[in-house]
């Protein structure tokens, strides 16, 4: 053993390095966790494939559009919601419970570094989900509107960014306020309810009288914004504003109530 192996040489890594390390770690753990992967990839793929297969037989009125063209944007929105809300809530809830956040709280990684790492991990996982789902959609014959590619891209980027922000802020609020088990239950329940009745996979207009309410939900707003971009080559300003408002509300609630331990 060489002498002075443990001689002090303290110091934190650069913020950039710490944030990257943290985001890689969190993304890796998210993708390694079977339940989270189910939520992130498997369920959206099943909804997409199953929805396209069933739509022909049930004959839901989709304003003359092909099912795959309506469902693919909705499933992309569902994927964003599953990771930004449910996965973030559950993983953060258990990080509090297991003392991970406590231990990191005594490391050189500052709180804002931890938050940045989380956001970066989340965006990486969302990007991966979108790639997989776009490929599945294309294999099923999905043809996004060719009308105005620039507006479509802008609409999608804004919808994904604001949708991620809104759902992540709400997910952190739940994780910071409740115990881990309660967070797990609530995050899954909300996900199922919004998937079924929140206007995310199917257009708000298919819900009849409930559609006006659904448009104001973060799920409905995200679904509508994605469909407007990918079906009509438009930027759905109203839905984007709704998402921004949810993001602001979620951030405010989280900042007021979040307990790191």
């Amino acid at each position: 053993m060489s002498p002075h192996t443990f001689a002090p040489a303290p110091g934190g890594a650069s913020l950039r390095r710490m944030v990257l390390a943290q985001s890689r770690m969190e993304a890796r753990l998210m993708l390694r966790n079977g339940e989270q992967l189910l939520l992130a990839i498997v369920i959206p793929v099943i909804v997409l494939v199953g929805g396209v297969a069933a739509a022909g037989r049930i004959g839901i009125d989709l304003d003359g559009h092909r099912a795959v063209d309506i469902l693919t944007p909705g499933v992309l929105a569902l994927a964003v919601m599953s990771t930004a809300f449910t996965s973030v809530a559950i993983s953060t809830g258990f990080e509090r419970r297991y003392g991970v956040i406590k231990l990191l709280g005594a490391s050189p990684l500052p709180r804002h570094g931890l938050l940045l790492g989380k956001v970066l991990a989340l965006l990486n996982v969302v990007a991966l989900q979108l790639v997989v789902l776009v490929v599945v959609g294309l294999l099923l014959g999905w043809e996004p509107t060719p009308a105005a590619p620039a507006r479509t891209v802008l609409g999608v980027v804004l919808a994904v960014a604001l949708g991620t922000a809104a759902f992540a802020a709400l997910g952190l609020f739940v994780a910071g306020a409740l115990r881990a088990e309660a967070t797990l239950a609530l995050a899954n329940l909300v996900y199922l309810l919004l998937m079924a009745g929140g206007g995310v996979v199917l257009p708000a207009s298919t819900y009849g009288a409930a559609s006006t309410v659904i448009q104001w939900l973060p799920s409905g707003a995200l679904g509508e914004a994605m469909r407007t971009a990918l079906v009509d080559a438009g930027v759905d300003g109203r839905s984007l504003l709704v998402l921004a408002a949810w993001a602001a509300l979620g951030t405010l609630l989280t900042a007021r109530t979040f307990r790191w331990e």
Binding site: P10, M18, M25, F94
Partner: protein, 312 residues
């Protein structure tokens, strides 16, 4: 660097949870480069005190300085310089042991070689095991590795060998001795007297949130002018025996009956005392089976000061 200032300075710390006072006017100092043990029973306020030093808790009264810094105000400057081993937890349930250690290493500018730490702490066999499947002792060793990996000046280790087998315990003690030799200040909490006696340069015994005595292990066990005499007799003591014995021995003496045939006598360490005890026994019709002027242990010190057993 001003090495003259103490590594840790706590002055009049008060911490309460609701109406339960956990730390009650605690003051202590830790010299740089030393191993300091904070010894006390469960619930004495050890962990709360440590967590205040680590910046987790805001002192309700009193001041805390660590490496000359305020753990709250100077948090960002302090944290890279200290290593923290929590009493439990701290890792994701699905993270592999070595992966966790490497992650913590990557948050530091000049981390230790993680392979060396893994080998020194015997974590090689469980390197790819998810945290949730590690044994209690393996979790402890990983926690210690995490505390050390950033090459801190000062480490806080909370019950470092809880749940370890004797072999792992010895390895851990050797490692802690080595890091002290390399210039790292160590503050550890424990309720094992042998751990404190073996490792510590200085021991602070705390009880009910206060430091009740401090000193080197030798100072604490030497006993000064007084000593503890342990008396065991062949038949139950008569009624009122402690009071009667104390009257015989004089007001400087404390007598405490442990059970119906044994007593602890704390008083001047001389043959006069032993002679009087012996005479008292004769007068009261009991025969001493053990009458020894004990080598004090930390257990005795604690018992004398609090009237309670330290052992958990």
């Amino acid at each position: 660097m001003p090495t003259a200032s103490p590594a840790v300075e706590i002055d009049g710390l008060v911490m309460a949870y609701g109406d339960k006072v956990a730390v009650d006017g605690l003051s202590l100092e830790v010299t740089r480069g030393s191993v300091t043990a904070v010894l006390g029973p469960n619930g004495a306020g050890k962990t709360t005190t440590l967590e205040t030093c680590e910046g987790y808790r805001v002192p309700q009264r009193g001041t805390v300085r660590v490496l000359g810094l305020d753990p709250q105000r100077d948090r960002a400057a302090l944290l890279p310089r200290i290593g923290v081993m929590l009493q439990a937890g701290g890792a994701w349930s699905g993270v592999r042991a070595v992966e966790m250690l490497e992650h913590m290493a990557s948050l530091h500018a000049h981390p230790l070689d993680t392979r060396m730490l893994v080998e020194r702490l015997g974590l090689g066999d469980c390197g790819r095991t998810p945290y949730r499947r590690l044994s209690g002792g393996q979790k402890q060793r990983l926690g210690l590795a995490i505390a050390l990996v950033g090459r801190p000046e000062l480490v806080f280790v909370d019950e470092p060998t809880a749940g370890m087998d004797p072999q792992a315990r010895r390895t851990t003690w050797e490692l802690l001795e080595e890091i002290r030799a390399d210039g790292v200040t160590v503050v550890l909490t424990t309720h094992h007297m042998d751990e404190a006696e073996q490792l510590a340069d200085r021991i602070h015994i705390i009880d009910r949130g206060r430091v009740i005595t401090s000193g080197t292990p030798a100072e604490l066990t030497r006993g000064g002018r007084s000593a503890t005499i342990r008396l065991v007799v062949n038949r139950p003591f008569p009624e009122g025996a402690p009071e009667s014995l104390r009257a015989e021995l004089g007001p400087e003496t404390e007598v405490r009956q442990l059970d119906e045939v044994s007593m602890l006598i704390h008083g001047p360490a001389d043959s006069t005392t032993l002679g009087r005890v012996s005479r008292w026994c004769e007068e009261h019709g009991v025969l001493p089976q053990t009458l020894n002027l004990g080598q004090r242990t930390l257990e005795d010190v604690f018992l004398e000061l609090t009237g309670r057993e330290l052992a958990s």
